[in-house]
């Protein structure tokens, strides 16, 4: 709900003209009435209408400035005839009227050209720019006509007014890293893969990675869903990165590295958040040292995500891209409290991006880490991946600790149960299959639908194909050991009982349905927590109730000045793209902070947050101008017997033909939003 003077947003018509303020009808939407802490918005104008928060808005100039923004934003326009010339004509004619030189015929021509743009423009930006302009011309016709008839400039034509605009798209808005998705898809469609990759890298340095293992929240917000099926957005990202790699090009950076500023930043952790912070800070001419505890770079994507899902040679390219920007990596260095204190004095700012590397317990009876066969998911995946990707063999101590008779994680003849339901648990069970386990069981408290929602349909389906046995509505009640060696589990069964009061159904234990499961290993993969013991106690950093570092979620500074946090250690275990999005924002804030000592957001970022709150995607919108029924492409998956016993990449990616026809489905839903302050 927002207080507005006038609004046509999303088809609502709120007109409080000539009404006393206390009788004003409110808008149903989260419109940005307050621009930032010290500026109110006077008006908000966008693809789907216009909202005025103030009586004194010069609507003619507002329309003209909005058309001007369409001219400004070259990234999204200049690609079609109606948009290119039509946009200019809109602006010129509106300016003519606003100057007091317009004629009645100009109003007609504006309407005609607006209509042509709506009908024939290439992307939504051209189709929607006329919308709020025509709204204003309709509802404030008197003001327009007054300027024309009296040949006078509009009321604030020469006044200083701030107009702040931002280009967005439903997918871009939904992506935590706000990747310019229509641009990278356009690069594929136009076979300009270098442009595609550079569009991605503007906000997301890990193009190979997020072209493979992103849970793609963008696809939930794809407007094409309203017509038939969402675009396969994630898979199209890979093409630009593959082009660069396949042809052996140097790295296509979307920006030129700025001259050395003399400023320095320390980053703790070389996972997605650390890499992203480092990349964008280095691009700003800031020296970055990244400290990594492990002997390999890349964080959980390296030691957590298995080879068959994210081939190391591809992720290594993403990491090399970051290094190529001039980032310095210090490996095998576990950061200590003293290090942190030293960083504070030696560097201009510090980023904590240490992830969540402690496997949480399943909370059952007799859950003792010292039981042989009880093996945390993070540690399990570390061992598997360090061995498979880098050839690190198990030490004699590790072999004893894990009861493995081989130099690598060899589970032949063993039964493994995993408790989980998220991506990590899927990685565990599928790695266990590849390690030759006799039997692999996933125990999950909820149902199939939920596990698919928490991971992906493909992930679940492929695991089933490979032979993972899923037991839903189940939870471990007790671990049974003999001399500290795991023997079996007592597993309770649950059922969903509808709430008679109409609330959410509750899980209730089915009495007498518990059973025993003989297993060699139990892998808890329910969740992870952050290991933050390296933080100096005297800093007394504020924590969330989830024991992660607290920030305001906008600038990512912790409670201590100059100490920032991003990724899982801030948010809790979440996705790669979430970590990238946070780190990208944080890097931008840090780049300003090290220069000015102040924590600020750019207009671009403020607008980004306003739009995220308003939500760009409207799932009820009816799509016109596109032929429905063109199916989404699916890339080839390695058949189950060709993948079950090895680490070959499972998803072979699109063929060029598939990629092109998928890219051709994209509707380029760019929009412009603008706030007048």
């Amino acid at each position: 709900m927002s207080k507005v003077y006038f609004s046509t947003w999303m088809g609502e018509l709120i007109n409080n003209l000539n009404k006393p303020e206390e009788e004003w009808e409110q808008s149903a939407y989260n419109l940005p009435a307050q621009y930032d802490s010290h500026r109110e918005s006077k008006a908000f104008i966008g693809w789907d209408g216009v909202a005025l928060f103030d009586k004194d808005v010069d609507v003619i100039r507002l329309a003209m400035e909005y058309a001007a923004q369409y001219q400004e934003y070259s990234e999204a326009c200049g690609r079609c005839a109606p948009g290119r010339w039509g946009g200019r004509i809109l602006y010129d004619m509106l300016d003519k009227i606003a100057r007091g030189e317009g004629s009645v015929a100009d109003m007609d021509h504006l309407k005609e050209i607006g209509k042509s743009m709506q009908a024939t423009s290439k992307c939504e930006i051209g189709k929607t720019v006329p919308n709020p302009i025509l709204d204003l011309m309709t509802h404030f016709e008197d003001e327009f006509m007054a300027c024309i008839n009296e040949k006078k400039p509009s009321k604030h034509y020469n006044a200083q007014v701030g107009y702040i605009a931002k280009i967005t798209a439903p997918c871009t808005d939904a992506c935590p890293a706000h990747v310019d998705i229509p641009a990278y898809i356009e690069g594929v469609r136009d076979l300009r893969f270098d442009d595609s990759l550079m569009a991605t890298r503007q906000t997301m340095p890990l193009a190979h990675t997020c072209g493979r293992v992103c849970p793609h929240p963008c696809e939930e917000a794809c407007r094409r869903t309203n017509l038939d099926e969402p675009i396969s957005i994630m898979a199209l990202k890979r093409l630009g990165a593959d082009y660069e790699t396949d042809h052996g090009f140097g790295f296509f950076h979307p920006m030129e590295k700025k001259a050395d500023t003399g400023k320095r930043v320390a980053v703790v952790g070389a996972g997605p958040a650390g890499l992203t912070t480092a990349y964008y800070l280095a691009a700003e001419g800031i020296a970055v040292d990244v400290y990594e505890e492990l002997p390999v770079l890349g964080g959980e994507v390296t030691v957590g995500v298995p080879e068959y899902r994210m081939p190391w040679d591809k992720y290594a390219k993403d990491i090399e891209c970051v290094r190529d920007m001039g980032v310095n990596f210090i490996m095998n260095h576990r950061v200590s409290k003293d290090d942190m204190r030293r960083f504070e004095s030696e560097y201009d700012a510090t980023m904590i991006a240490s992830g969540t590397r402690i496997s949480k317990k399943v909370y059952c009876e007799n859950e003792r880490p010292e039981i042989t066969g009880y093996w945390g998911a993070i540690d399990f995946l570390d061992r598997v991946n360090l061995c498979e990707k880098f050839g690190y063999k198990l030490t004699p101590e590790q072999r004893k600790e894990y009861a493995i008779d081989n130099e690598y994680v060899d589970l032949r003849g063993k039964t493994l149960a995993c408790v989980g339901g998220g991506f990590t648990s899927m990685d565990v069970v599928r790695c266990a299959i590849r390690a030759g386990a006799k039997k692999v069981i996933m125990l999950y408290r909820r149902d199939e639908k939920t596990i698919i929602r928490n991971t992906t349909y493909e992930e679940y389906h492929e695991a089933v194909e490979e032979g993972v046995e899923f037991i839903f509505h189940s939870a471990v009640a007790k671990i049974v050991d003999e001399d500290n060696v795991l023997k079996k589990l007592i597993v309770d069964r649950y059922e969903l009982v509808p709430d008679p009061n109409g609330g959410r159904p509750q899980l209730e234990k089915i009495e007498g349905a518990s059973f025993e499961l003989e297993v060699d290993y139990l892998i808890p993969a329910v969740s992870q927590s952050a290991d933050l013991k390296f933080l100096p106690e005297e800093w007394e950093l504020e924590m969330t109730s989830w024991a992660t570092l607290k920030t305001n979620g906008k600038d990512y500074m912790t409670s201590r000045k100059g100490i920032f946090a991003s990724g899982d250690c801030e948010y809790g275990p979440m996705t790669i793209v979430n970590a990238v999005g946070q780190a990208k924002r944080a890097a931008s804030v840090m780049a300003r902070y090290v220069q000015t000592g102040e924590i600020t957001l750019s207009d671009e970022e403020i607008m980004e947050d306003h739009l995220r709150k308003l939500k760009v995607y409207n799932k009820k919108e009816k799509i016109t101008g596109w032929l429905p029924g063109l199916p989404r492409q699916h890339s080839e998956i390695l058949p189950v017997d060709e993948r079950r016993d090895n680490n070959k990449e499972v998803n072979l990616g699109f063929t060029q033909e598939e990629a092109l026809s998928e890219a051709e489905r994209c509707m380029r839903c760019y929009y412009i939003a603008m706030i007048a302050t």
Partner: protein, 746 residues
Amino acid sequence: MINFKIDGISVEAKKGETILNAARRHGLYIPTMCYISKTTPCASCRMCSVEVEGVKGFILSCNTPPTEGIEVRTDSSALKQERTNIMKLYDVNHPLECGVCDKSGECDLQNKTLEFGVAAQNFTARDQSRKIENWGVVSYDPSLCILCEKCVHVCNEVIGDDAIEIKFGGYSSTIIPKNSDKLDCTFCGECIAVCPVGALISSDFKYRANAWELSRIPATCAHCSGGCSLEYETRHVGINGNDSILRVKNNFEFTSLCGAGRFGFDFDNSALKDAKEFDKAVAALKGASAIRFSSMITNEEAHILNLLKKELGVKLFNEDARLYRAFMNAYASISGKLLHSGSLDAIKQADGIVVIGSMIATDNPAVRYAMTTAARHNGAKIVYAHPVEDVIMQNVVTQFMKYEVGTEEGVIALIANALLKDADLSENERAFFNSLDIGYLGAESNVGEEEIALMMKSFKRSKNRVLVAGNDLINHARAANIAKIAGLIEKYTDFSLVIVPKEVNTLGCALISDLDQDEAISSVIGYNAVGDYTLSSIEKADLMMPSLNQQEGTFVSIDNRVLPTNVATHFGGYTLNDIASACGIAKEFTVEYTKDLALYAGFKAVDFDALENFVANDGSDDRGYLLDEIECETTTEIEEVSELPEFNGTVVYHANPVLQFNGYTNRSKQLAKESDLRGSAQFAVAAKISDGDMVEISMNGLVVKRRFVVDERLKGTIALNPTFDISVPAGRYRFEKSNITRVTNE
């Protein structure tokens, strides 16, 4: 097949075919301004919007495939109105200078403005001052540009230069050179060809003629074996009424030309009939022991030379054609067919390509463009095996397989060994592979196991591959065995084979000519080649002959296609047919021999005048005819790979710069003539020479003096020596051990 209706007519679309293409295939008209058939849709003009029954709004037909049962309307008053509005927008501030614009008369903007009856302009926008750019052979006037993007698409998707892009900026959007201030490309001029208006034009042609004043002579390009279709556009110049070629055009909608084809057209000769000189020529021929000729002649001339051989008892020398034929014969002994199975189309459609033994981008641009098309549109994996990396090809090639000079036989054996690992080979053939000393071949050729493994990995999903065999294989001492191994790859896999002919008619000569091995004897007549008495259209000779744009006749292209070419400008002197007539082989016109061409080599008994010479509006290329396949006897005998030769020291590779091929291109005024020896800084060190030095290069009896320049795009110790301006005996292996000495700068 998808069945649907366009304007009430039932039509079918193929898988992936768009509404626009289905309509065009059925002869139904939908207007477009930015669409070009050979690229992905630019989708910028929006003119091709159509209506679909039951769907709100307009649907873009150029990039939308139909769904089953839809009913499409291509014309309605609403569509007409919006299309007219788009044309009005295109006309906003378009300079009214049709009177002097090169494009006038063949301008899409003019045509569509008339078609939609845009007589008045209601919309205006503030005009902007825009600078005309001169980029060498190409000029760009942004105020005439309608930003259709065709130029950008062909440059990237078909040519592969990727040298221009759009600078986005709404109304002030413009075409700019990519990553450079000045246009830095191979100057194919494709951007000029596809420009629908007068924005991108030929700097040379500018203001020289109106489209309607020009005569168009359909012909086949004479510079390489690509067999590109082109039209010489001629007009009389001066007061004597002689025609001159003003420019070259092509059916750009479906075909392409390189810059040599497009700008290198002015190689015609002028001569007058001098009976005395003619008699000398006839006398020389009658007293000759042999005729040495190059493959830059027509099939009919090759046929005449065969007749002369019989009539006069002379020998015929043409090492280029002879070695090509020997390669074909060896290949045929495995495949059972004389003609290679691949074509430019096969390359365009391939998803995997191995090119070996050629600097292909400059040897044969048509192959390069086909590879670019495959790389972009099919995502083809392309292995480029050669001792010299070619930066021009980087955005096309997915694996550069560098091998040591001279080890071609070993490299192709290694490649074949991997490709045929599971093939159902005959005993002899399997024995051949079992006998390979992989370790030795890998070590000597420098092609490691991991490189072969990478190739196999990248071909994992390929189903449609082509092996492109270049001149280094044909002219190799072990050519016969190499050809057989290539034949095996073709026989047992999805690979088709393209053996790249070096000159415009190497393949035709190889099929027709009854050749003898060249030898150093006296009284040799040279026809476009070295001799004691010379006839030539290429360089100064005892008797000048008509150039290949002054002759009627046919060539055989890389596609095994017999292609006609025509007389663009008049030649006043004598032809080979005149000389042959004087020797008792009498026909009035050379092309009377077209129907007599070697039937045993696959030619057909067709009159020259019956040969079509155009690429149709639907893209079908039925120029001339395809050779008939010739069945051959086969063998399963393959020799063991011999010891691989070593080339130590400073090695020179005969390779022309872009746009240069031969004496014709060397004469063309628009083409750059970079005649330097080009090498890397490493080469300079090895040869003890520096950038800018004049050097003398001695290569096994061949001595050339050139300026040496360091080319930072080159690596390694092989320098590139152009051949377009010198005479290198045909048939030589293109890598030469060399001795380079600095000479004083005179």
